[in-house]
């Protein structure tokens, strides 16, 4: 006979989700979701308040006595300083359009990751502490008081938002959860509540000029080493210049690409392109060890910190006396450049309006920031036929392109990267429409959440992206995910390893460099990764016999 209990037991195993109202559902800190707390030295170095050794899972967060007052005062100040914050606190009608647009909600299934609820966490306090109706009606009016539990809820969920802005695309009022998260984190920083993965790069960047804490000589060492590597592959020495006064252009890119695979190949790509332009056209592009970071983790800390870190770019351009600045492939770096830099640290009247000296093209759209995106620059060179390219050399790869959140939704640089990619490779396939361009899914690790301890969060958040990549892998045999962001290059290999294991990750300039025919190069048989350039299933002889092969 069957024991009826057997099925009962199996049933009891089932997860019973809480049925309580969200305000009554306590926040449980789950390992794999939260990031570690900021260590005191980071905060001290950049004079941020309340540096101390603390843990976010500890009962006592060692907050200042008047923490509540500080936060509420901070909210008041920001309501007066940011129209965005004030309006976004007031006008949400909770229509639910954003609810299922967040990659963290899709991946984790946690309802508080619906953008509307993430914002309500703060909005409820706004209503309960700042509006008359909320003060009188309390819970009925959707208001609540700021308590330690609320604060811990804020911390947990504000560091589960990558500020990717996907929800803002679908909101009928344009409410931008990223803006709310930015200001929410700024408030938390008033009482020393940051995560170490953000606080450390901020302190490093402030001191050494880059997030990795690379000192100037090591930066040069690393690029020198890349010069050797490039020579092995191409037979050409692509010597770079550093901190060179009077150069034409200053090049700034994220340091992640200098010190981490597979970004290093993108970095070599830049070096090859820079060398090519010097050799063929005499264009002098220099690197800086002082402004050796394009990214800006200040954006994830506070507006002030963003400004403090960003100031280096213009300061260095001025000191070196260059004409304009060229920026590498990075996501949030370009959000800062597009939407904040000129306002914060401009006007850059000591620079010239950017003109491509090789083609004569004026970059009208960068007239006042005087900073041009490398894919804008490359697109212009390519369409004028100024780069000698052999896309066959990338035949090994079947590529797709991941639009990074910030370039897509805080800038709109969608076609330039595609044009460059299509010019340097023969195999390109788009992912489904609702996962790219302005609807692109985040890598799950933006806004400083690319730590190691929150791997479950990262993988869950990267799931919608991984899913779309797996789809084009199955359909078209895609084996390479191209991205235009250093954080993407740092985190997507792990994400792909888990969700789409056959797919590699690379930057655009890696492919450009592989396709670029350098003057005086040796016969190319391998790419920058030391892999043969012919496709896996094609014999080399056959590959070289192709009529379209101009390398011969």
């Amino acid at each position: 006979m069957i024991n009826p209990n057997s099925k009962e037991r199996a049933l009891e195993l089932g997860h019973k989700p809480p049925k309580t109202d969200w305000m009554d559902t306590p926040t449980v800190y789950k390992e794999g979701i939260y990031c570690y707390a900021a260590k005191p030295a980071r905060l001290e170095y950049v004079s941020l308040p309340n540096p101390r050794d603390w843990s976010c899972t500890a009962e006592d967060w060692q907050l200042p006595e008047n923490w509540k007052e500080i936060i509420l005062e901070g909210m008041k100040e920001r309501l007066e300083k940011y129209r965005t914050f004030k309006i976004f606190m007031d006008i949400c009608v909770r229509c639910g359009a954003c609810a299922d647009k967040c990659h963290f909600f899709i991946g984790t299934g946690d309802p508080k990751n619906m953008p509307v609820l993430r914002a309500e966490l703060i909005r409820s306090v706004y209503r309960g502490e700042f509006t008359t109706a909320g003060k009188i009606l309390g819970r009925i009016g959707g208001g609540r008081k700021l308590t330690l539990d609320v604060l811990k809820e804020w911390w947990y969920y504000l560091f589960q938002c990558t500020e990717c802005r996907r929800c803002s695309v679908f909101c009928p009022y344009g409410i931008d959860t990223a803006e709310i998260t930015i200001i929410g984190r700024e408030l938390l920083n008033l009482i020393g509540l940051n995560i170490d993965w953000i606080a450390a790069p901020v302190a490093f960047c402030y001191r050494t000029g880059n997030h990795m804490g690379i000192q100037p000589h090591a930066y040069v060492d690393m690029l020198d080493f890349f010069t050797d590597e490039i020579e092995n592959v191409t037979g050409v020495r692509c010597q770079q210049t550093f901190n060179k006064k009077g150069a034409d252009i200053l090049f700034i890119t994220p340091s992640g690409d200098v010190f981490g695979d597979p970004g290093t190949y993108t970095c070599m790509g830049y070096m090859i392109v820079i060398h090519y332009l010097r050799e063929v056209y005499g264009l002098d592009i220099t690197w800086s060890t002082y402004a050796s970071e394009g990214g800006n983790f200040g954006l994830f800390t506070s507006h002030e910190m963003m400004k403090r870190l960003n100031a280096k770019m213009y300061a260095e351009a001025k000191r070196l006396g260059v004409k304009w600045i060229l920026g590498g492939e990075c996501g949030h770096m370009w959000r800062v450049i597009n939407q904040y830099m000129d306002t914060m640290n401009g006007p850059a009247d000591f620079l010239e309006e950017p003109v491509n000296p090789i083609t004569g093209t004026k970059f009208e759209n960068a007239k006042t920031t005087k900073m041009v995106h490398i894919t804008e620059f490359l697109s212009d060179l390519i369409i004028h036929g100024k780069l000698n390219l052999d896309p066959n050399r990338n035949d090994r790869l079947k590529n797709t392109f991941h639009d990074s959140c910030n370039p897509a939704r805080a800038m709109g640089i969608l076609e330039e990267p595609r044009y460059v990619i299509k010019s340097v490779c023969n195999n390109f396939y788009e992912m489904p429409r609702n996962t790219i361009r302005e609807q692109t899914f985040c890598c799950g690790c933006g806004s400083g959440l690319n730590a190691g301890e929150d791997m479950e969060l990262r993988l869950a958040g990267g799931m919608p992206r991984g899913n779309a990549v797996q789809y084009v892998h199955n359909k078209h045999g895609v084996n390479n995910l191209i991205c235009m962001c250093a954080i993407d290059r740092a985190v997507l290999p792990a994400c792909m390893g888990y969700w789409a294991p056959e797919v590699d990750v690379s930057g655009i300039n890696e492919l450009v460099a592989n396709a670029l025919i350098l003057p005086g190069e040796k016969e190319k048989t391998v790419n920058l990764r030391d892999e043969p350039i012919w496709p896996k299933d094609v014999e080399p002889d056959e590959f070289y016999k192709r009529p379209s092969f101009p390398g011969r």
Partner: protein, 197 residues
């Protein structure tokens, strides 16, 4: 009538119930989204479950081919392995909800037929087997997550450093910690403080 035929007949209803039991293990609002949104890219979790259950059920019913079962289980377990709201047992428990889905779809008369009950015992023991396989996959996924956690960032930076000759291999192939090497040689990374514990 044999159980297998019965199950074949009621397959659609059983799978539907099984799917609902699984999806209802999520918070109710999440569950609703998982059920309703049919677009594979907007709702990868729900559609992955939906598309895996039918072939999995067929496999339990007929083949019990190990490789095939793993291929259907893997996508589902892979997701639940990173959804920290589930404990390990909860992450694989959904396999066993099939028992409930099957039984509630059998009529009382069928439930009392000795012949069918005997077959049901066999069928349920197959479900147990699949449950154990799910556990294997779950552990494999978790191990992968831990490996990524332990090595991800470090290896990434380490490989680059290594290629640059900033660190060196110890002859027996044992890798030194990146940061230890850096600390001792006092190069590359500015020792702002106790960056690495």
């Amino acid at each position: 009538m044999r159980l297998n035929d019965l199950l074949e007949q009621k397959k659609a209803a059983i799978i539907k119930e099984w799917f609902n039991l699984i999806v209802n293990s999520y918070p109710s609002d999440t569950a609703y989204f998982l059920k309703k949104q049919k677009d594979h890219f907007a709702n990868p979790v729900g559609t992955t479950i939906l598309h895996s259950l039918k072939p999995l059920f067929d496999e339990i019913l007929n083949g019990m081919d190990h490789k095939a079962i793993v291929s259907y289980l893997d996508p589902m377990i892979r997701i639940r392995a990173v959804q920290v709201m589930f404990s390990p047992s909860q992450a694989v428990a959904f396999i066993f909800s099939l028992k409930k889905a099957v039984r509630s779809n059998l009529k009382k008369r069928e439930n009392q037929d000795d012949h069918i009950i005997n077959e049901l015992i066999i069928f349920e023991s197959k479900i147990d087997e699949v449950g154990l396989m799910a556990f294997d996959i779950f552990m494999k996924c978790r191990e992968q997550v831990y490996k990524l956690k332990a090595n991800g960032e470090r290896n990434r930076v380490f490989r680059a450093f290594q290629r640059a000759g900033l660190v060196y291999e110890i002859p027996d192939g044992k890798r030194p910690g990146v940061m230890n090497v850096l600390k001792s040689s006092n190069t590359a990374v500015a020792p702002l403080d106790d960056r690495v514990d």
